[in-house]
Symmetry: C2
Subunit: 395 residues, 2 copies
DNA sequence: GGGTTTAGCGTAAGCGCTTACACGGCACCT
DNA sequence: AGGTGCCGTGTAAGCGCTTACGCTAAACCC
């Protein structure tokens, strides 16, 4: 009493027709007499027939499955990997967003996590994992820009591929990202311009994370553009609460005058910082402002509520899926990089009054070329944070 | 310049061998001369050959893919579905846990969400979605016990299936769940026995969620076993922060003396409650204790930190995957229901002193038969919360 | 009424892979 | 030298499905 496999042939025999007719009924294609259709339908019901996905894929040369590869940064040993504290990260929301979008297309979603430290050590095994995955899908959504460019290129030659939340400087592949730079720029500018913060400390993300890099560069740009402000120090974390704690301890251990703003590359680290500061009796935002990035759910629960930058994750997922669909339909498309606007979310950890809850959409901020801007030929606008209408203002 | 498909034939031709030989090299099976093996290997490399998953599945009659169906309760219209606030739910952790386990087995994971309200309305479409899914996988992990029993049975007849976090009363299929009843029992008993709370209010989960039912029943059992305690009222929520808020408002609106404990069926609702109470200037735990369930990440960040019950999600995922593997190997296995121990996590929202952080593993608590216990023939032990050694005690 | 359509269905050729089986050759035994 | 065995490889038969093509019979045209 195993699971007996009912095939098209069984249905055909049962209904007294050929397999072609069953297939036609199944897909509503081709002319079939009503009478015949009914016979086939009831045969399908009676036998409990379900078409085999593998056989369909093979015959159709199309799998209707896409893969999502999420890259996670972690400092833990694999056996210490703590599911609970990794949850609610960025990718959980991406997964939901993607799933929501592709179900309209009747695709299925294959999930794969690449965990840094665990996997990255042997790029070899990562490659083979990805290749094996690529044999099972029509296209791939791949997180971040952590993979070696040649690995990415190799993959992109084999099948449709869109990088999600990756490095938009990558010009050889499709990329869909949130505008990290502009978001971080607006955030730090808010700290400097609106709250007069001058001495900033940075707790950054892993060097391998392109979004962390963007955020750091944006902060640097604001500092450079505002004489009198300075980066008093920085710490490189791993996007975890623990990293935030360690970064804060490092800042404190440095001694000297306390910086007046702590810019964290994500919310988890900001939360770690908030807790550490609270334990030391350092007041936020009075003694020091703290800001994060991502606007994860707990950001609004902190004490004080965290000022941060909201990522348009759902939009991100939608655009990425759509782009992938386009590429699957037309492989010759030239790669495109898309940047989605972020939102500045003002709560009170930045110095805004308690109870503040404002959201400002951050439109693209023209970015100053790091060097040799003149060479580019066309003049670049200076940096300018453009904060449009407030989107919401609660309370 | 599309994505040209390299097949086994191409490799064979290129290496001057037959396709059987290439296949053998690929899987390291059967004797192949070193010289030949090398030629084939380099042909594979040069052509960038990757075996087609569909063809392999078809030939092997095995897909090496399992599906995970997550069921979400939601009160929102589909277009209002808020990814961010749904994140960090139970299933995000389950997905991670499952993925972690099956990668050892070299399986892939297909994700599917079933969203209540959106999907449940038409059981019809749910069925067809699940059937279509079942054609693409070797087995299914299915969340909760929300599906109509006959749908489940129909599915279970077709392919290996394990219910995760579902109703363990289901005896016809494999089920792996956390011991919600015992966890909730220990939690409420803690409130009543250790903190002397007497007047409880309950914010429960959806009636369709078996775990919510378990938690409610356990609470009722404690109340029944402790004369002098009473349930002053209850509210049925949807496991969301908003529901927690609404439930709290309902409690407040009821007027009369404030209950001295608020038992929420999950952490999100407890968080909603905490915020609402804070706004009203009601002190926790002095005026009223609040407890949750699940121990999601933000539970430790609340003010005051939330006392709750920790679910062994990773263990849950592991056991469920292993069980599924067993059933795939041997379809004749008789269904088994497994209950995993939970942990009581004491922080301070229950009345324990600030800074408390204790975890107690809750072993199985013998459950009193609701009615007709005598009929069962064998005597049942009375309810007794067994709190073993404290597992950790921080600070 | 002979010819041309067309609806309705069956036949069969794949899709890219795995694997049972066959077969040639060499090594080894008697 | 003839037999026996095994190693290394090729041949071919599927796996369950889609779909181009072909055929039959009824419907339609002038």
């Amino acid at each position: 009493m195993g699971y007996e496999l009912v095939t098209l042939y069984d249905v055909a025999r049962h209904a007294g027709v050929s397999i072609a007719t069953v297939s036609r009924v199944l897909h509503g294609q081709g002319p079939v007499r009503d009478n015949t259709r009914d016979r086939v339908r009831s045969a399908i019901d009676e036998l409990g027939y379900v078409p085999d996905g593998a056989a369909q894929s093979l015959a159709r040369n199309r799998k209707d499955v896409i893969g999502l590869v999420a890259v996670e940064h972690m400092g833990l040993k694999p056996d210490q990997y703590d599911i609970e504290s990794m949850s609610l990260l960025f990718y959980d929301a991406v997964i939901r967003g993607v799933e929501l979008r592709i179900r309209e297309k009747n695709w299925a979603l294959l999930i794969n996590f690449l965990r840094e430290e665990e996997d990255m050590a042997q790029q070899e095994s990562v490659q083979s994992r990805l290749l094996a995955l690529s044999g099972k899908v029509d296209g791939l959504l791949i997180g971040e820009g952590i993979l070696a460019p040649q690995t990415l290129a190799k993959l992109a030659r084999r099948l449709p591929l869109v990088v999600v939340a990756g490095d938009t400087a990558q010009r050889a592949v499709d990329v869909v990202s949130a505008d990290n730079w502009s978001g971080a720029h607006a955030l730090v500018e808010h700290l400097v311009v609106d709250h007069g913060r001058r001495r900033l400390f940075h707790i950054g993300g892993p060097a391998t994370a392109p979004d962390a890099t963007e955020r750091r560069l944006a902060m640097a740009a604001v500092i450079e553009a505002n004489p009198g402000t300075a980066l008093t120090g920085s710490y490189t974390g791993l996007f975890s609460v623990t990293s935030g704690r360690e970064g804060t301890l490092a800042m404190l251990a440095a001694g000297g005058e306390l910086p007046d703003a702590l810019v964290c590359a994500n919310d988890q680290m900001a939360i770690g910082a908030l807790r550490t500061l609270a334990e030391r009796g350092i007041r936020v935002p009075d003694d020091i402002a703290v800001v994060g990035f991502d606007d994860i759910f707990p950001a609004s629960l902190c004490e004080p509520p965290l000022t941060t930058v909201h990522q348009p994750i759902r939009k991100l997922a939608e655009v990425a899926c759509d782009r992938l669909a386009q590429r699957i339909n037309d492989p010759t498309l030239r790669p495109k990089q898309e940047l989605l606007p972020t939102e500045l979310v003002l709560r009170s950890s930045c110095g805004c009054p308690p109870g503040t809850m404002e959201r400002w959409e951050v439109r693209h901020v023209a970015r100053r070329k790091p060097t040799g801007a003149a060479k580019s030929g066309r003049p670049l606008a200076g940096t300018a944070a453009v904060a449009a209408e407030p989107l919401t203002a609660e309370r």
